[in-house]
Symmetry: C2
Subunit: 105 residues, 2 copies
DNA sequence: CCACCATATGCGAATATGCGCATAAGGGCA
DNA sequence: TGCCCTTATGCGCATATTCGCATATGGTGG
C-alpha cells in the first residue's frame, strides 16, 4: 500500500473517530434524521453537532438534503458499520485478554 | 448506543486513524514484523514509529513479543482490515460521486 | 418587510496529536 | 564489564481538534 492510499484510509477513519460522530452514524443506520433529531443524541451544542455533520459530509460518509426548514442527513456508506462492529469486538477481546492476564498474573 | 459505547468505538478508530498506523496494520496482515522492518514503511523517525506502535498496542489492535534484541509485532484483530477496506471503498464512491457532480454541474 | 425557526460559520481558548532530537532501557557478544 | 544494536521514552515545539459563544444564512409564515 502506498502512503497516499494509507492517507485516504486514515482520513476516512479520522472522520469517524469521535464519539459523537459514532453516535450520529449509528443513529442514521435506522433511517435519515434531521439535525434537530440528532441533537438529542448527545449533550452538545447545536453548532458543535453541525460541525461534526460537516466533517462526516466532507468525507462522503453522509449526505444532506433540505426539506423545508430542516436538513436531513443520510448515511451513504452503510458498510462503515462493519468497521464499527469490528472495532467493538476488538475492544471486547482486548478487555477480555487484559482481564485474564490480570487473573493469571 | 450509549455515549460510553461510542467512546470505546471512537478510541479504536482513532488508534487506526493515521497513515503510518494504517501502513503498519496493512503490513502486519502478511505476518509478524519487527520494528526495524516496519521502519522501512514510511519516512519517519524511529522514535515516532515506536510511538505509533505503542498506540496500536494500547488499544489491543497489535501485540508485541521479544525475540532476542528485536521486538516483533503481531496483528491481533485481523477484522480491522474490513474497516480499512470499507473506508477505501467509501472514499472511492465519494470521489466518483464528486466527479459525476462536477461533470453534471 | 419583519419575526422566527433550523442550521451553519467565525472566532478564540483549551486540549490533544505528531514530530524530531537526545537519551534511556533491554539484550547480545567479546 | 564494556560496547553495540534495537527499541522505548522525556521533552519542547508546531499544528490540529474540539468546544462554546455569538452571529450569519436560508427558509417559513404573518
Amino acid at each position: 500500500m502506498t502512503y497516499e492510499q494509507a492517507e485516504l484510509r486514515a482520513d476516512m477513519l479520522k472522520a469517524l473517530a469521535h464519539p459523537v460522530r459514532v453516535l450520529i452514524v449509528d443513529a442514521l443506520t435506522a433511517g435519515d434524521r434531521c439535525v434537530c433529531e440528532l441533537n438529542a443524541l448527545a449533550d452538545i451544542d447545536q453548532s458543535g453537532l453541525s460541525r461534526h455533520l460537516a466533517i462526516l459530509k466532507k468525507t462522503g460518509i453522509v449526505s444532506d438534503r433540505r426539506n423545508g426548514m430542516k436538513v436531513f442527513y443520510h448515511l451513504e456508506t452503510p458498510c462503515i458499520l462493519k468497521a464499527l462492529t469490528c472495532a467493538f469486538e476488538a475492544v471486547k477481546n482486548h478487555a477480555r485478554r487484559r482481564a485474564s492476564l490480570l487473573r493469571a498474573g
